[in-house]
Symmetry: C2
Subunit: 448 residues, 2 copies
């Protein structure tokens, strides 16, 4: 069945159905050509054709307008010098105002709950400064046992900064023996068991490795029940799934804008603090940009912060990074996360269907099967690391850009904003070829 579904005509028909919807923003992006990519084989991937880019979970594609917006700011700098701070199109002083509203819409926040600043790991630390306040017995940090390395380093170093022994403080939640995914019920039970020893729970909203989309609402609710704070790293969730950070009562969250948000390598970060925490004098690392605009430049030593998430800002905003984000948000503004999520569920289901006959002992999907419990990404797990790497190499030759995660996982992420059924179909066809090629290296070598 998979093979038949992956016929070009099926993909074409599905794309046609979607082509008129605003969620179809493929043409708003620059797609690399096969010939420009390292490792492509021109006999397998015509050099002047677009590659099959399924790695928006790592680095999103460049919006067609990015270059123009960046050049506009460079020209403003060249022509106006320091006057660009207060004059011209998009004055720099409040330039982040151009990206707050749309960012908030994407993560299910109100405008006042979002700041655009710094980078992901930095912002996660800043959330810990405000929301991880170990006090007596209440000092534990709960997180996924397979958390992204950088997030783990945040947890561990935060414990150290407070003079605590990480071994006593860190509380990883493990999947059940033989399972890859965490069950919500197990997480909730772990939270209840930790009880008033628990200070903070921090998970990746969509798990980078498995693609599991956690039940943020349930886990946050359980966290609050024991009196702890809930922080969410939305790196793999923002622009991928329809977050409702405000409604879910998440205390704080952060995300990066270089994955599904398409704002380029090392893009500016996103930051969320729930409105219930605004104006409460939470400890934070203060800077002049958190000060009210009206008094910000008075240089008085009188901390008078913005009444919202803006209070967490520290420095004058990085202009090029901010407009790179703007270029992407302009595209998102033509559709909505709700619509994109709908399309995304179809795309990923199609990907799963088209490969379904291949799944068994040698190859499996570790991502949850329920669409509500995953984003766009499927993580394909090989029984053998070598076969995984060889398949990855064979895909590369065919102009398929996916992502290999040590030791034996290939992550495939059809980004809702620009990927098509055709992309998925291309991937599936190439994947079959790649599996064969990887299985028959000797035969291949003889042919060559």
């Amino acid at each position: 069945l998979g093979k038949e579904l992956a016929a070009p005509e099926v993909a074409q028909a599905l794309d046609k159905k979607l082509s008129q919807l605003p969620s179809n923003q493929r043409t708003s992006f620059l797609v690399p050509r096969n010939g420009d990519l390292p490792g492509t084989d021109p006999s397998l991937a015509p050099g002047d054709e677009e590659c099959t880019y399924l790695v928006g979970n790592s680095l999103g594609l460049q919006p067609a307008r990015t270059k123009q917006l960046v050049i506009e700011e460079l020209d403003k700098w060249a022509h106006l010098g320091v006057n660009g701070h207060f004059t011209g199109n998009r004055p720099w002083m409040p330039i982040d105002e151009n990206v707050i509203e749309q960012s908030a819409a994407l993560v299910g926040a109100t405008k006042s709950e979002v700041a655009i600043m710094n980078s992901l790991t930095m912002n996660l630390h800043l959330l810990f400064v405000s929301f991880y306040r170990p006090d007596g017995k209440r000092k534990k940090i709960m997180y996924e046992a397979s958390a992204f390395g950088s997030d783990y380093f945040v947890f561990e170093s935060q414990a150290r900064i407070h003079g605590l022994d990480p071994k006593e403080v860190l509380l990883p939640v493990q999947a059940r023996a033989g399972e890859e995914l965490l069950r919500t019920e197990d997480v909730v039970k772990a939270i209840e068991a930790a009880g008033d020893s628990l200070a903070t729970v921090c998970f990746g909203t969509v798990q980078y490795y498995t693609g599991q989309y956690f039940d943020v609402a349930a886990i946050t609710r359980a966290t609050h029940k024991v009196g702890a704070t809930a922080l969410w790293d939305c790196a793999h969730a923002a622009g991928n799934v329809d977050l409702k950070l405000h409604d879910w009562e998440v205390d704080g969250a952060c995300w990066c804008n270089y994955k599904y948000l398409n704002s380029g390598p090392g893009a500016i970060g996103g930051f969320f603090v729930h409105s219930k925490h605004h104006g409460k004098g939470l400890p934070l690392m203060a800077g002049w940009w958190g000060q009210k605009q009206a008094t910000r430049f008075n240089m008085e030593h009188n901390w008078d912060p913005e009444a919202d998430a803006g209070a967490w800002r520290l420095s004058n905003p990085p202009v090029l990074q901010t407009v790179a984000l703007l270029a992407s948000l302009e595209v998102f503004a033509r559709t909505s996360m709700a619509e994109l999520r709908g399309k995304s569920m179809l795309l990923t289901a199609y990907l799963e269907f088209c490969l379904s006959d291949l799944f068994g002992a040698d190859l499996s999907v570790i991502t949850p099967a329920e669409p509500a419990a995953r984003g766009c990404q499927l993580s394909l797990k090989f029984s053998e690391a070598e076969a995984c790497l060889a398949t990855f190499g064979a895909l590369e030759k065919r102009g398929i850009v996916v992502d290999h995660r040590k030791p034996n996982v290939i992550r495939v992420a059809p980004a809702p904003l620009y990927n098509s059924f055709r992309d998925v179909q291309h991937f599936c066809t190439a994947f079959r070829e790649a599996l064969n090629e990887a299985a028959e290296p000797a035969k291949k070598r003889a042919k060559a």
Copy 2:
């Protein structure tokens, strides 16, 4: 005498003397035209002529190569997608390696002591995390009473984060009654008096308002004598004066790259940790980018940091910001801070000479008179705020870009890298006109 020195022929002759030196990099920068600036009067400042840009202390000019380098990275992203991290010219993963060595040279550091990351205020907080470790009696933070607002907010919020009352912890050093500048001897005495109650001393290396260049070596030495740590905010010093952060045994320092370092609005920040503190396990806010490159992507929960200042990095580097800095450093690489400092002392002395007959009760220079105790900036103080603002407006009409600081100071900063004696001469001529115009508003209005 001032007037005569400010004759165009004198400036021209001086510029000619310098024109062959590598410190003359004027043509490597894009200078705004009068006609593009808000507030210029075409009858006083011909629209197609370059303006007189003397505000590199606020936002440096754009290097001519910046746009090309930024576009190269955008094109790489468009053509290579995620592959840009490891392939192509200047792979993104280690892209900061392109800006470390030259940055280190500019601040008198070894390569291993510098990281390029985040923003200024953020980096100052990160230094406090590592170097401000209040312990029992030792908890005070000493700083200039007139510190830049953002720096003050760092001091105050750091006290709060440690659960301390800012009133008990903050120790501002005041200038003597009737004086604008801090005397080194007074600072040293204050440090000695604070003794073992002192945890950290943090000053702006070149004071943003007065332009005073503190005796970093002497203050740092005194700080260490009482067992405290010395942190320096080099915002107005980097690219302006010849810093020797390593030799002076400064513990930690940070700077911004948008002033004398010409890397654009909201440029990436600079960060210094002295080599004597490397590999000592100081508390820090950890992230995967502080991990050794060889193990960074293994996702193991095993903190194994770089053995140098790189350990303080948190996130993958912002590519556009990094190459914007690179474009400027390429220009600096053609000369040296020692050479630039020599030229700068002459330029600023010339500025002072050319105005000297104007100084008196109504107008004075608050910047130190000794060249060694100031950078390129002179701060002109008016007895009346109104006259100051009117003069500033009259300068603007004449295409002179300087900076007005409430209530009654105009800061004039001939940047050593691109400003000329001609710029200074233009300023001085326009300043005399502006003073007259400001003094005779009624007459002016009648004429118009």
